[in-house]
């Protein structure tokens, strides 16, 4: 975003006077830039991050609108068109799978589901983590010790086995996969947020809010969480890819999304099964998976550079 154009209408009363006394350059320097405008400026200069952002945007658009446009769906088998190789003639650009379903549509659906799992699970984990961390950090005292002790204990709970047990035991509902993955991955963010909260709560603006009688929860919501958004944004872009990979891992074990619904993980593990005869069934979803993970990681790195106060 470039600097906003000078306002055409004069501002109200007092500011209008000072405004008139300033030259153009002064005014530009005075027009405050928020943290986010600053960060956006720096991010735009990072070519790898911007390329990733654009590529991700394209994939998201394709995943949303592609299946709507396509004449094929992801679940109807076409028994006369089994395992067609990718070809430009005949409509199946990326070929068909072992049930004759259009691979392109299935991959786009896979992107949809995988991105949704990544996003929803990250939101679940961040909501718990941020609330947990800010509460512990802000309230302090024995509440803090207790809450952080719980985090310590949960750290020792083996994470992968636990999710596997959860999924095996309580069925493989899509929504449960979201929640199960999200609910066990909030520990890191809780710790980071608590640390930040501890330093933030000693700052003057929090002191001022407390002095003017703002309640504890309102301070957390209005003053602490907005200040933590930077870390949260960085963390979410780095969590999404790891959760997408985790879903793929579960699918590989046969614990992921149930057929005929699909995800990138399911497609990859189906592709592995047919690797020798039909390598394109592995290559196509793997490429999408790798590109998505790659882009999120680069974007997260770029955001960290853009938002990290250490570099300023």
């Amino acid at each position: 975003m470039s600097t906003p154009p000078p306002r055409s209408r004069p501002l109200a009363h007092a500011t209008a006077v000072t405004e008139a006394a300033l030259t153009g350059a002064d005014r530009e320097a005075l027009a405050g830039r928020s943290l986010w405008q600053d960060a956006w400026r720096r991010l735009r200069r990072n070519r790898a991050a911007m390329a990733s952002l654009i590529l991700l945007g394209l994939i998201v658009l394709a995943a949303i609108f592609g299946p709507m446009i396509s004449p094929y769906d992801y679940y109807t088998p076409q028994w006369t068109l089994l395992n067609q190789w990718p070809t430009l003639a005949g409509g199946h650009i990326l070929g068909t799978d072992n049930l004759g379903r259009d691979e392109l549509v299935r991959v786009l659906w896979g992107c949809r589901i995988s991105l949704m799992i990544g996003l929803v699970a990250s939101v679940v984990s961040l909501s718990i983590g941020v609330l947990w961390g800010t509460t512990a950090g802000y309230v302090g005292g024995w509440v803090d010790s207790l809450m952080m002790r719980i985090v310590d204990i949960l750290y020792s709970v083996p994470f992968i086995p636990f999710v596997i047990v959860l999924l095996v035991l309580f069925g493989r509902e899509l929504i449960l996969i979201f929640v199960a993955i999200g609910a066990v991955s909030w520990l890191d963010i809780a710790r980071i947020v608590r640390g930040q909260t501890l330093t933030l709560k000693k700052r003057e603006f929090v002191e001022a809010a407390r002095a003017s009688g703002v309640g504890g929860f309102a301070i957390i919501r209005r003053h602490l969480i907005p200040n933590l958004l930077g870390i949260v944004v960085i963390y979410i872009t780095l969590t999404i890819p790891s959760l997408i990979l985790f879903e793929a891992f579960l699918s590989f074990l046969g614990l992921g999304v149930q057929a005929p619904m699909t995800s990138l993980g399911v497609l990859v593990s189906d592709g592995v099964a047919d690797l020798q005869s039909f390598p394109y069934l592995l290559i196509v979803p793997s490429a999408f998976l790798a590109v998505i993970i790659y882009c999120f990681n680069y974007l997260g790195d770029g955001l960290r550079d853009a938002l990290d106060p250490k570099d300023r």
């Binding site: 310590d152 204990i153 750290y155 020792s156 709970v157 083996p158 992968i160 086995p161 636990f162 596997i164 047990v165 959860l166 095996v168 035991l169 309580f170 890819p241 990979l245 793929a248 891992f249 590989f252 074990l253 990859v268 593990s269 592995v272 690797l275 020798q276 390598p279 592995l282 793997s286 998976l289 790798a290 590109v291 993970i293 790659y294 990681n297 680069y298």
Partner: protein, 307 residues
């Protein structure tokens, strides 16, 4: 230091208790039992079997019995593999995982650390971007894609290496599993090392050391290396456990007889004791690994003291 370690280990007991209780409750809350098979057993036989394994007792009693066993280091019999105890399964499977995981960890450190340091010294040049982009690719491609492709190339087409199986742990059987397991860790270590090395190299005391005219080599090894290792140590604690549990995928693809396979099969077949036993094992491993990481921290940074 010794007292600190002892206290940490003591405080791990309630943690482990929570892990055991949680897993036990979860497993038994689920529908289905270990002896519900496709073929319906006559009720009398099923009752006899369940009685033999104490599965007909009330849950609290089963729980206490199990805790008592675990305290004596006995994880109980497997329901799925007749005449085999969980201890047997672990004794068979764990060496496989430790061998592969150990080599993979060593390999990823030997490759990842130098690459990370090298890239940090040439920050923002092609020699930095190139290896780091490659490392990012290593992170983005999960091992269940890399491993089958490796098998296709090196075993099916070139016939250089066996496609799988343990083969008594002979080197040719180890190469591919170790490489496939090490790849993402190598990439991660390289990126982590680069990041922390760049940060360390920009600190004032490094500038001072350089200004004194110390050669770059001395500055790196004597001044920068130790502090730069700090984030890596906290990563390696849990990662060294993960490199063993992460080999579930590797075990499946290369059909290796490790404990990861037993765990997944156990979870699928309600083999409570196998799942619980391996979960407890992982829990202990994580606690010990984190303790070691914290102790190494104190070795690297003399400002950290534990009482």
């Amino acid at each position: 230091m010794l007292r600190y370690s002892l206290r940490r280990l003591l405080s791990a007991i309630p943690t482990l208790l929570v892990v055991i209780t949680l897993s036990f409750a979860l497993l038994h809350a689920a529908p289905g039992g270990p002896f519900d098979s496709e073929k319906v057993l006559p009720p009398q036989i099923k009752q006899n079997i369940e009685h033999a394994y104490h599965l007909d007792e009330p849950l609290p009693e089963q729980y206490l019995r199990y805790l008592g066993q675990v305290l004596q280091g006995d994880f109980g019999p497997s329901y799925q593999y007749r005449d085999t105890t969980v201890n047997d399964l672990i004794a068979q499977g764990l060496p496989v995982d430790v061998t592969i995981g150990g080599w993979a960890l060593l390999l990823s450190l030997l490759i990842g650390l130098p690459i990370g340091i090298f890239a940090a010294l040439r920050q923002n040049t092609a020699l930095d971007y190139g290896p780091m982009a490659a490392a990012m690719l290593g992170i983005s491609l999960p091992s269940f894609i890399v491993a089958p492709v490796m098998i296709l190339i090196f075993a099916v087409h070139l016939h250089w290496l066996p496609a799988g199986d343990w083969g008594g742990g002979s080197p040719s059987h180890l190469v591919m599993p170790v490489l496939a397991l090490a790849a993402p860790y190598t990439a991660y270590i390289a990126r982590l090392m680069r990041g922390s090395m760049v940060e360390t190299l920009s600190s004032p005391y490094i500038r001072t050391a350089r200004a004194k005219g110390l050669p770059l080599r001395t500055v790196i090894w004597a001044h920068a290396f130790k502090p730069a290792m700090m984030p890596l140590v906290s990563f390696l604690g849990p990662a060294s456990v993960g490199i063993i549990s992460g080999s579930i995928v590797i075990e499946t693809i290369f059909s290796l007889p490790g404990i990861g396979r037993y765990f997944v099969d156990g979870a699928l077949n309600r083999d409570y004791t196998v799942v619980l036993g391996i979960t407890i094992l992982y829990g202990i491993a994580i606690i010990v690994a984190n303790l070691i990481a914290d102790l190494v921290y104190a070795l690297l940074d003399p400002r950290i003291r534990y009482q």
